[in-house]
């Protein structure tokens, strides 16, 4: 079973994001880059499947040379191959990402393509669906449990208020959610092995984006705290302020 896992390099969840003057872009300096956390569940699941059934896991990521550090972190978990799709910056338009991925991955003989359910920076959650559409493959996303039997698969997906079980036919694109598994640690042997795996660099003419981010802004500042120190006798006042001032009830 040959599996591709598409990963995205995103800022560390603890990074304080800074918007450049003018609001048009995010400041890259000082950002600690990581594998988007949902993608780690995708890598783990792909590794488990190939360990059980044979085959290879190929890590795929788009971006400039700095993305190779993130690719090595994925390889250190145990993947065998890697592709970096070279581009000046990671696309903001998930349509572009999906089209480029489809072009690179089509015809390479993959049985499954894993992604995270969404990347934690853009939060678009579009790539798995759009990629599957372009390949004309099945797509199951927000997956929390997965079983493969021959060319058939069963997945449990998280839906609002519960879960949903689906059957699908391979090949398929799977969007991994938290709880799908427990991603392994990168052990020392894995880290040293990852160092030696060549990363295939692919050049693609990216299509023109169909959307453009025009500005970024910070979330509204939290207001000043108000302390109520008289216990139950303050309740009426708290309710009044929540209704009239904060306008939340």
């Amino acid at each position: 079973m040959n599996i591709a896992v598409c990963i995205k390099q995103t800022p560390d969840t603890t990074t304080r994001i800074q918007v450049a003057d003018g609001g048009g872009e995010i400041v890259d300096d000082g950002i600690q880059w990581i594998i988007s956390p949902y993608d780690e569940f995708a890598i783990e699941e792909a590794l488990k499947l190939t360990e059980a059934n044979g085959g290879e896991v190929t890590i795929v990521s788009m971006g400039p040379a700095r993305v190779e550090k993130t690719i090595r972190e994925a390889l250190a978990m145990g993947a065998q191959k890697a592709i970096r799709i070279d581009c000046e910056s990671i696309p903001n338009d998930p349509g572009v990402t999906a089209k480029v991925l489809a072009e690179v991955l089509r015809g390479r003989g993959f049985d499954l393509i894993f992604t995270g359910r969404q990347a934690i920076d853009g939060d678009q959650a579009q790539v798995p669906g759009r990629l599957a559409h372009l390949l004309d493959w099945a797509c199951v996303s927000v997956v929390i449990d997965l079983a493969i039997d021959g060319d058939k698969g069963t997945a449990l997906r998280e839906v609002e208020g519960g879960s949903e079980r689906v059957h699908f036919t391979m090949p398929a694109v799977i969007g991994a959610n938290r709880h799908l598994n427990e991603p392994r640690y990168r052990n020392m042997r894995g880290i040293m092995k990852a160092k030696r795996i060549p990363i295939e660099v692919v050049q693609v003419d990216a299509p023109a984006p169909q959307l453009e981010i025009t500005s970024y802004s910070y979330p509204p500042q939290k207001g000043e705290r108000k302390l109520f120190e008289n216990g139950a006798s303050d309740v009426a006042e708290v309710v009044r302020l929540l209704r009239e001032e904060a306008q939340v009830i």
């Binding site: 640690y185 020392m188 042997r189 880290i191 040293m192």
Partner: protein, 382 residues
């Protein structure tokens, strides 16, 4: 001279810290109180590859160079708050696994290294004796050659991992006539060997999760194939393993100092007295500034020693300097951390008094600091 870490050194450091914080830091107060060695965590460390850091991949290790090994051990000292567990790993790796890696026959390496690296086997370095600690080569344990191998009699003491070990790297005198550099040989002894019995287990003030004990060898016959590095190689082999130990346990101490310094920074910024955080008092902030200077100095010495471990022929001086400087820096930093924590620091729950107790051993094991100074003095022609 480039002081930056490589990408893979950064990756292994970050991953070990992450692993140690997630997996190794639960219930240490209880383990310390009960002197309990966490075999399950030992095995998890084996899966991570910590017991085989510099061992070539073909023998089950990660194949790291000496500097990367030190950086990995520093990360363990930083992330893992169980000083006894990380000490046991160091003793196993530095004083047993590395000598087998460097001096074992192909057969010995194939037989022992993969299981030592995975954590399936635990090793003990059986060197010190009741009458000879830092004066190690004055040992009484004898191995007399006879048909079928060597007959060993003697008692070893203060053997880290002794009570839980599966194999011992045993040093014994084979030919007293050959003087200090040729009289001693090293043997790999399996615990099932008739005549090998663990003696009493010792209780100690620190590193309590790392079991330490006595080992008794009574008319024990070991085959010639157990000899490591040939007859008379004990001196070279032991000194080399002490160089690794003195430098790389220094690396562990650097990690521990970084943790203590960060704890002191955050505690002193939160704890208030007379209406302001205690970090605003110079008596406190000076202590932490000193911690930072000691840490950076200690780390430079450690990295310098580590870069020479697998390149230079004689690392004894680097190892002795590192050993003295870093172990004393750690004790001072641990003492100051307890002082900054005040009454809280004196209680067990805040988990800094344990690190102080753990740190004291550093001035004693691997050859006391006094002996290290003697080595330095001799080298300077004094």
């Amino acid at each position: 001279m480039n002081f930056a870490l490589t990408e893979d050194q950064e990756m292994l450091r970050d991953e070990i810290v992450h692993f140690a914080r997630q997996e190794l830091n639960k219930d240490i107060i209880e383990r310390d109180r009960n002197q309990q060695f966490p075999r399950d965590l030992w095995l998890k460390c084996g899966e991570m590859g910590l017991q085989g850091l510099p061992v070539p991949e073909e023998y089950g290790g990660a194949g790291l160079d000496a500097l990367s090994t030190a950086i990995a051990i520093e990360a363990l000292g930083y992330g893992c708050e169980d000083g006894g567990l990380s000490f046991s790993i160091c003793a196993h790796l530095l004083a047993c696994v590395i000598p087998i890696m460097n001096h074992g026959t192909e057969e010995q390496k194939r037989k022992y290294l993969p299981k030592l690296c995975s954590g399936e086997l635990i090793a003990v370095n059986a060197m010190s004796e009741p009458g000879t600690g830092s004066d190690a080569f004055n040992m009484k344990t004898r191995a007399i050659k006879e048909e079928g191998g060597y007959r060993v009699n003697g008692t070893k003491i203060w053997s880290t991992n002794g009570p839980v070990a599966d194999i011992a790297l045993l040093y014994a005198v084979t030919d007293p006539g050959k003087g200090i550099s040729g009289s001693t040989s090293a043997f790999i002894v399996e615990k099932e060997t008739p005549g090998f019995s663990p003696g009493q287990k010792f209780e100690k003030m620190g590193l309590r999760t790392s079991p330490i004990g006595e080992m008794v060898f009574e008319d024990m016959l070991v085959p010639e194939s157990a000899l490591l590095g040939g007859e008379g190689a004990g001196f070279v082999l032991f000194n080399q393993s002490m160089e690794w130990e003195r430098v790389c346990i220094g690396a562990k101490h650097c990690g521990t100092m970084r943790r203590l310094m960060e704890k002191s920074v955050s505690y002193s910024k939160e704890r208030e007295s007379f209406g302001q955080p205690i970090s605003k008092y110079e008596a406190v902030s000076n202590k932490i500034a000193d911690m930072k200077m000691r840490l950076e100095g200690a780390r430079l010495l450690t990295y310098q020693g580590a870069t020479r471990l697998d390149k230079a022929r004689d690392v004894a001086i680097d190892a002795s300097m590192t050993k003295i400087f870093v172990s004393e820096a750690l004790v001072q930093t641990a003492l100051d951390t307890v002082q900054i924590y005040g009454g809280n620091g004196f209680t067990t729950d805040y988990e800094v008094e344990r690190t102080l107790r753990d740190s004291i051993g550093g001035k004693i094991y691997s050859g006391t600091n006094e002996i290290q100074k003697k080595i330095l003095g001799n080298w300077l022609g004094l």
